[in-house]
Amino acid sequence: MSPEDQLNITKSVIIRNNSIYVDGNIIYEYFKNDNFLNDSYESLDNNYPKFYKMDVLGKLGMLATHLLLKDSDIENHLPSDVGIVLSNSNSSLDADIRYFDSVKSFPSPALFVYTLPNIVTGEISIRYKLKGENAFFISQQFDADWLHFYISHLFQNNKINACIGGWIESINSDHDVCLFLTERKESKNGINFTAENLNNINSLGDDVSNILP
């Protein structure tokens, strides 16, 4: 890869352990409650009514992508040049269980349409009008090597010029999100797109004591 093709992580968003981080800095803290997703989304000055009917995975995707793309110049890319490569370990199990519970009384169409992991990919695509390559992988844990390999491959084959990538998980009201934006341009944080840096970004908030001064 030539120097001008150097890929950089231009932004990252973590949602875990009662906190939301953007580029490593806490921007929102919450006490675990049922309204966290709605409250934080509203407090971040959002207006997308469809948000409220989404499953938890969809809401997490909306919230994290909003923060990831805020102040970015993603709209300068062609819709077909922005990829989305996501992963988690429980697929849409959270939505599956909620849907299955509804079957006992009346199968809910509104819950049923979220019983696939890549629905969150579709919701992000529709909200931000993105039409590039996308994939959703199931892996035991955040797999930096695989994400790095797959996303690099898309760039190298000129399939995309920017990519929303990472991990987005929800099960039993536990949230764990690590999304990052990969672009060809210089990053103000100077973080190169490497598997090691992905692991560093993802380690944030694993243990709260690590990030306290």
């Binding site: 199968p107 169409p109 049923f112 349409v113 979220y114 629905i119 579709g122 695509s125 529709i126 009008k129």
Partner: protein, 399 residues
Amino acid sequence: MSQKVYIAGVGIISAIGNNVGENLASLKDTKAGMQNMERLQSVHKDKLPVAEVSLSNEDLCSELKLPNHISRSALLSTVAAKEAISNSGINIHKWRTGFISATSVGGMDKTEDFFTEFMADHPNGDLKNVVNHECGAVTEITADHLGIRDFVTTVSTACSSSANSIFLAARLIRQGFLDVVVAGGTDSLTKFTLNGFNTLMILDSQYCQPFDENRRGLNLGEGAGYLVLVSEKVAEGMNQKPEIALSGWCNANDAHHQTASSPDGTGNFLAMKGALKKAGLKPADIDYINLHGTGTNNNDIAEGTAIKNLFEGNYPPVSSTKSFTGHTLGASGAIEAVYSVLAIREGLIFPNLRFETQMKEIPFAPVTELQHKTLKNVMSNSFGFGGNCSSLIFSKVIG
């Protein structure tokens, strides 16, 4: 100029017939395939009519000499693909031949058998029933049976799957990768699809009425359809050069909702417009549209609105043959592609059964009786969940 891609043969199995001849006879005689469920075991047995293929798994296995744990999707696929090859008269082993098959269900039918046994008593679950669960496994079974090895792949894009497999075939031929491609799709009826569509509240408890003001939903069906697509070179060497070519195709997406089409049919419009452009045709050149026409409120208004906008003033005759076959999901694009080829070959426009009242939002109504007419260009629409919209155009080739 890019070379043409010819249709050298067709094969089909559906609720209205086990081969091309039987399907054509049913279409002419207006014999629909829906009835109460016989083979599929479901709690909705007496409530939701379906369009089942009349042959049992045992019948299909003994005809094909395949073991009886094979998924019904693979059995239907193999019957129709074999017919298409034999109908073409081509020795597929002489050429670089591909097999592209679409399915949305894959081996789910057998997985459901496994699941029941497994949940009752874990050691009782027969793993033979799950090894072909994955969509590609079904394709492989048929490809092995046909002896096709040069290129084999599976397309799964919901209800536009097999339209997409057909035009992928055309692209591979035009780019010179393959000479002959057997392309189409298959789907068998399963509890999974029945319950899923029932959850979405889009199944009709009566026989469906596509493009009717008072439509209530769709009836699920099953079946398989395949075309043998060949290059100019293969076509030249045939005893009788094929008279029908795939002239246009397009896939578009309206990025609106997980399942529904946008109400104004943006994706549908783009797919039809793109296919016309590819074929170098104007809307007025289309002699008949074989509609996606599922009979759901959402599809028919989206498709109808898109046709209204694109064909303004030149509405061609339209009909939904799903009023015969039910909605065969991943197979529907190919089954209707076969009907579109037959429409040109036989000079027929098939009726849209059970139509009563024109939709108030659109200025045209579907054809309700069999019409004899010379057709040059026929459009076939296939619109899937997720806004995955495809249109194909088949054309009679002169000279």
